[in-house]
Symmetry: C2
Subunit: 376 residues, 2 copies
C-alpha cells in the first residue's frame, strides 16, 4: 500500500470511524481501524461487531493494499500533524507515515484478522434529510434504557412507510414518539418495523447530526444501513451498518391517552425553571406536585423535604378542564420538556393517576407520555 | 433578619463563596454559608477551616440578624431565580426567600455553631494588580503536589519584598519560578517568606482571576489575606484568608543552573506539537529523546516503543554550544512549555544529566527547571 492524502481529510475520517473502536480485551483487533484502498479511494472501517462504520475519501493511490492500525494511536497522531500532504506506505505490517518533518512507523496487524462487516441488500430504501432525521432522533434517543430482561425496549422503534417514519422509545415509565414526514415517494414494497439499538442511534446522531444533505436508509430483515454520499462523486462517503434487535416492540399506542381531564398551555422556559427549582427540595423520591387552579388560570409547583424546607412557585397558563393536584418525578418531566424546542407546550393530564402527555404547541409530530407518581 | 437584594448580586456572591463549602461529614456546619448583616451590607462567609472566604454587597437591610444555610442548595436555588428583587427574612431558623412568584422556606442552622474565621493584623501589606498576580500564579500553581512527608513543597513559596514578589513551586522533579515586580513602594517593614497552600492559590485564581483592579495582600506570621474592594464604597468586597504551611522551603535557588552546555531557541507551538506527537510512542516511562545538531541548526524529537512503533520529527532552531542527546519525561516538558505564553522559548541544557531550564524568549521573569531522564 502506498498513497497520499491531505491531513485534514484523513483526520475527518478517523474522527468519524474511531469512536466505534473498542477497548476490547477478548478481541483486540476491534481496537484497530482497517485501512484499505479501493480504486481511487482510501477506505477506513471500524466495527464493534454490533455496528460497523465505513468512510471513504479520494486519495492518490500509488499501490493497493490493506492493514489494520490501532485506532486511538493513529487518530491522536494524525490529529497533531500539520494540514499538509501525508504519505502512507506499508512495509510488511509496519505503516510508515510521513508528513513534512514528521516521520513515523506504526506497527499494524494483518487485515485478514479484521471481522467482515456484512453487506446489506440495497433494494429497499428510503431517503431523508440528514439534519431532520438526527434532530428527530435526538428528541427520544435518551428515553430508552439498556434492559437485559426486555431487550426490545433498549432499542428505538421504527415504523417505516413510503411517506412516513414513526419512531418511539420508552423505559416503561415514559414514552417519546416522533413522526417524520418523508418528502419523496420512496421505493419500498412493504412497511418495515425495526428496533435499532440505542447505541446505533447515538452514533448516527454523532456522525450525521451536523451534516447537510440526504441520507439513504437501506432496509433488510436483520440489518439497517445509513449512508451519505460524497457531493462531488456520488460515491458513498459514510456508511453505518447495524444489526437490529429481535423481538416484538410493546404496543405502545395503547397507552397514549386520546383525551384529557385537564389541559394546560404553558410557557416552556418558565415551567422548566420552576421544575428545576422545585427539584432542589424534592427529596429522594424526586417528587414534585402540580396544583392546577382553572379559575385563577394558574399552575402552582410545590415540593418539600423534612430536612431542607419547602418550595412553592406559580406560573400563569391557559387551562381547559378540571382543577387538579398531581405529582410527577421531576426528572421524567424535565427530560420530556427539554426535548421540546417550541416556546409554548401543551400538557394533557388525566386525573392524578392517568398518563400525562407533553407536546409542543401547534406541532403534533412529537409527544411525550409520562406517568404520575401515585399519591400515597 | 430581613433584607432585600437583587438576584444577580446575590448569585455572584454565592458563586464565589460556595466553592470552599465542603461536603464535611464530621463537621456538617462547614457545608453551610453564614449569612449575616453588617450595617448596610449583606455578608456571606464560608470556610473549610484552612481557607475562609468572605463576600459583601450593599443591600436594603430592614432588620439585622444571621443564620447559616446549606451552601449548595442555596446557591443552586438562587441561580435559578429571575433577576429581580429577592426578599430574605428569618423566622426562627427558617429562611424565607421570596422573589416574584417564587416562595421558599429553607431550614437553616444557628450561626453560633459556625467556626470563627480568624482576623488578621492589617498593618503589613503589599498591593498588586489582580490580573497580573493571578496570571503569574497560574504559571506555577500546578507544579506543586500534595506531599505528606514534605508538606512544605505541597505549597507555593513566596518571598515578598517592598518592590518584588518571587514565587516558586516544585515537586522535586521540576521547579517553576516567577518574579512579579511591584509598581508601588509598599509599606512593609521586613521581607516575608511564606508557604501558601496550593488550594488557597487555586482559590485565589478562581475568585480574582477575571477581575480588574488591585488586590491587597495582608501579611502576618501565620496567615495571609487577599482582599479586593468595592469600586463604589471602598468597602471590602472579597476577602480570602488562609493559614500558611509551616516549615522551611527547600533552597531551590541552588538547583537553578547558572550556565549551559547547549542553548536552544525554538518556536514554542512547533516544539509542543512535536512533543505531544512523540509522547504517543513513548511507552510507559514517558521518555522522549531530543537530538541537537548544531551544524544543521536542527533539533530532532524521537521516541519509540516495542509495541507501537517509532517516531521521529525535527524542528529548526537557533543553537548555541555543543551537540547533545538528552531524554525527558514528556509530561514534565509539556507542563513547563504550556505555562509559557510567548511564541519563542529558550531552552538551556546541561549535558545529558544536568538540569534544563525553559524560559520565554526575552522575559527573565519566569523560568522552569526540569531534570532529564538519565540514559540507561
Amino acid at each position: 500500500m502506498k498513497l497520499s492524502i491531505l491531513q485534514e481529510k484523513l483526520k475527518k475520517g478517523l474522527n468519524i470511524t474511531e469512536k466505534i473502536s473498542l477497548k476490547s480485551l477478548t478481541l483486540p483487533i476491534l481496537n484497530n481501524t482497517l485501512i484499505s484502498t479501493e480504486k481511487n479511494f482510501l477506505n477506513l472501517s471500524t466495527t464493534d461487531l454490533e455496528i460497523g462504520i465505513k468512510w471513504w475519501a479520494l486519495a492518490k493511490i500509488e499501490k493497493e493494499g490493506k492493514i489494520t492500525i490501532p485506532s486511538h494511536l493513529l487518530s491522536s497522531f494524525i490529529n497533531l500533524l500539520p494540514n499538509k500532504k501525508i504519505n502512507l506506505s506499508l512495509k510488511g505490517n509496519d505503516l510508515d507515515i510521513e508528513c513534512e518533518n514528521y516521520k513515523t512507523k506504526i506497527k499494524g496487524f494483518s487485515a485478514d484478522e479484521f471481522p467482515i462487516i456484512p453487506k446489506i441488500n440495497q433494494e429497499e430504501f428510503v431517503k431523508i434529510k440528514s439534519f431532520d432525521f438526527c434532530k428527530s432522533l435526538s428528541q427520544l434517543v435518551d428515553v430508552a434504557i439498556p434492559s437485559t430482561t426486555r431487550p426490545e425496549i433498549s432499542g428505538i422503534y421504527f415504523n417505516i412507510k413510503k411517506n412516513l417514519i414513526t419512531t418511539a422509545a420508552t423505559d416503561s415509565f415514559r414514552l417519546g414518539e416522533k413522526k417524520i414526514a418523508l418528502k419523496e415517494e420512496n421505493l419500498i414494497n412493504k412497511d418495515y418495523y425495526l428496533i435499532i439499538p440505542q447505541k446505533t442511534i447515538k452514533e448516527i446522531i454523532n456522525v450525521f447530526g451536523e451534516k447537510d444533505g440526504v441520507l439513504t436508509i437501506y432496509l433488510s430483515p436483520n440489518q439497517v444501513m445509513i449512508e451519505s454520499l460524497m457531493e462531488e462523486t456520488e460515491h458513498p462517503e459514510i456508511q453505518i451498518i447495524s444489526r437490529l434487535i429481535e423481538g416484538e416492540y410493546p404496543n405502545y399506542q395503547e397507552i397514549i391517552p386520546k383525551k384529557f381531564t385537564t389541559q394546560l398551555t404553558l410557557n416552556k422556559e418558565d415551567f422548566v425553571n420552576q421544575i428545576k427549582s422545585a427539584s432542589l427540595f424534592s427529596g429522594k423520591v424526586n417528587e414534585i406536585k402540580m396544583k392546577v387552579d382553572a379559575d385563577k388560570k394558574e399552575v402552582s409547583v410545590l415540593s418539600q423535604s423534612i430536612d431542607l424546607g419547602e418550595y412553592q412557585s406559580s406560573l400563569p397558563g391557559k387551562i381547559k378542564g378540571e382543577d387538579l393536584t398531581v405529582s410527577f418525578n421531576h426528572k421524567f418531566l424535565l427530560d420530556g420538556l427539554l426535548n421540546i424546542k417550541s416556546s409554548e407546550i401543551v400538557f394533557d393530564l388525566n386525573g392524578d393517576s392517568g398518563p400525562g402527555v407533553l407536546r409542543p404547541l401547534g406541532d403534533d409530530s412529537y409527544l411525550y407520555v409520562v406517568m404520575p407518581i401515585k399519591s400515597s
